[in-house]
Amino acid sequence: MGIYTDIFLTFAKIGSFTLGGGYAMVQIMEKEVVDKKQWLSHEEFMDTLVVAQSTPGLFAIDMASHIGLKLKGVRGGIVGALATALPSIVAILLIAIFFQTFRENIYVEKVFMGVRPCVVALILAPCFSMAKKAKLNKRNWWIPVITALLISAFGMSPIWCILAAGIGGFIYGRVKK
């Protein structure tokens, strides 16, 4: 299988199972791109999350573009981004054309009552594996705690947290040198 086909199929698969927004996709993507395909290391994957979160555009598409670019340059990026968007475009078009009453379907609602708590768990699970890979220790454990608190309790935009931490890291790197 060619690398472009491989990129396309992998991201189309990820796009097909992204339910409930970009964050739900993190664990699926990590499993596929890091564990299975080994296109990136765990650290590189986390850096990709940072880049995707701090640039405009959709989180999942940004992730796919960045990973595609890393593998095969601009063409790889385009394949990754389009493959992530394609399942979503097809699904919505089918619903728009054929199933206007999709939402009222009782079975769809039942399936989603099971899926929703699962999605929350899928977002929470990678926190623990990533904590290890982010080299959390006695000196920096407060960074994720403060971040989570500022965002969830005080409604702060994640952009500001990333910006503050980035500037902090930049200064720290300079001073240490």
Binding site: P56, L58, P87, A125
Partner: protein, 190 residues
Amino acid sequence: MIFVELFYVFSKIGIFNFGGGYAMLSLIQDEVVNKHEWMTINEFTDIVAISQSTPGPIGINCATYTGYTAVIHAGYPTWAAVLGAVLASLSVIWLPFILMVSISKFLIKHHESRTVKSVFGTLRPVIVGLLAAAAIMLMSKENFGSPSESPFVFILSIIIFLFAFVGTRLYKIHPILMILLCGLAGLLIY
């Protein structure tokens, strides 16, 4: 011309969207319902609900559905509406993509530099906090049911949540399989 307008509006929405699909919704609402009157507020609410229950990034879902509906409302046939839907979706992607190309090139070139290493060293713990915050905010009545109104749904939701968490963390069940299992459970139980 509806197609030029769709391209312009959704390009704008794409580049001014920081922080994911939900932040994008208010932008889309402002442009599509208030300014261009392509659809009513009720239709927009339906679109948001549909976007949340179909696969894919919510921003793309919204763009596809809006593109389709706007072209139909303008009096064009179905095939033109499909074209409008694809156009709106691609319009959201292209500008952030160009930006991403330059950022990625810079990072790939400088990823061994001390400054870049030190910046990302601080940012990795932040990402852990970011994901935790996203999970905390989703632990809501909409996703779990409320303990007073529907204790049965609430308890089952907690069980599904724990099952999914333990299953993917400890037993390394693939997340896609887990979503399918939980969807099936919902279908059979409720």
